[in-house]
């Protein structure tokens, strides 16, 4: 279907539109999970710190 990679990237003259669309789509679909993972890691870290603080308190009270 495509005679050369150059032809593929040119998309019959519509390169700007096609690749902007697919590009932004890929960007969103990659960035969103990354942000969710960061949020998850943040809450896990917070819980770890809280647990450490509890343990510290317990050890020092006894």
């Amino acid at each position: 279907m495509w005679n050369s990679p150059a032809e593929f990237f040119a998309m019959g003259g519509y390169a700007l539109y096609v690749w902007s669309s697919f590009g932004v789509c890929a960007l969103v679909l990659i960035l969103e999970p990354l942000f969710v993972r960061a949020r998850y890691k943040a809450i896990v870290r917070r819980l770890q710190e809280e647990r450490l603080a509890e343990q510290f308190d317990q050890e020092n009270i006894e």
């Binding site: 519509y14 539109y17 809450i43 770890q48």
Partner: protein
């Protein structure tokens, strides 16, 4: 875990067992990789069909290929709104926290789908009809759908009490669901009245079989993606909201 082994395609049956955050959390964790793999499979297949199988269009040239993300994104944005409203409604009726958390987890995904639909719609419209934005019925309704998503997210963000946020969001989502068909119908009416763009941006070229397949595969890809990200986000939400529960403290991730 027994729950995982007994999972079937329609998980209504198992859902009742999973309705507490503590049982759902590990199950979700196990499901996430499966959905990422499915996303990749459908995505690769879909992109292959989009770029290497579907033929060039007589009228729109290669530019029409944007349809392979525009239409799936539109479908997903509308589908996810229904699912989100359904979860929120369940949470309201049965007073279950997890259902509300699922709605909260899905809202951003749906909003991004609506945004992608609008973005790709603009980039499709510009070369085909000369304008970045045409006020056709589908695009305008999609814009309002984005506003509905953002309103849901904003409302929940501004209410401190989580249970009030859940219930208020549920009411808003349900009101939105009833209104979306009304809005769509009214925008279509408006469009014909004012004889706006006589061509619709979303009027697709005559569908070759392969084009339909491409759209379907990409739609499945987006669907699996939405489930994967939704499950990821709901796990974070569960931890955030159940932070003081015992089972959270006993988690292996938290015990260092």
């Amino acid at each position: 875990m027994n729950e995982v082994n007994h999972l079937s395609k329609t998980r209504w049956f198992n859902w009742l067992k999973l309705s507490s955050p503590s049982t759902f959390y590990p199950v979700a964790g196990k499901l996430i990789p499966i959905f990422w793999i499915l996303t990749a499979i459908f995505g690769i297949a879909g992109l292959w069909v989009s770029f290497f199988v579907a033929p060039v269009d007589a009228v729109q040239g290669q530019g029409y290929r944007i349809i392979f993300i525009h239409v799936p994104a539109s479908w997903m944005s509308m589908f996810l709104y229904l699912v989100m409203a359904a979860w929120a409604g369940l949470g309201l009726v049965f007073n279950t926290r997890l259902s509300a958390m699922m709605a909260q987890a899905l809202a951003p995904v749906g909003a991004w789908m609506a945004f992608l639909s609008l973005w790709t719609g603009a980039f499709w419209g510009k070369p085909m009809w000369g304008a970045w934005w045409v006020w056709d019925a589908r695009l305008t309704s999609e814009l309002i759908l984005l506003f509905l998503y953002l309103g849901f997210i904003a409302l929940q963000a501004s209410i401190d009490n989580p249970r009030r946020a859940d219930k208020a969001g549920a009411i808003l989502a349900l009101v939105g669901v009833v209104n979306v068909p009304i809005i769509y119908f009214s925008v279509k009416w408006w469009n014909t009245l004012h004889q706006g763009a006589s061509v619709s941006v979303t009027k697709a070229p005559a569908m070759a079989q392969t084009m339909l397949w491409g759209m379907l595969l990409m739609a499945l890809c987006f669907w699996m993606y939405s489930i994967a990200v939704g499950l990821m986000r709901v796990r974070a939400i569960i931890l955030e909201r159940e932070a003081h529960a015992d089972w959270v403290r006993q988690l292996s991730e938290v015990k260092i």
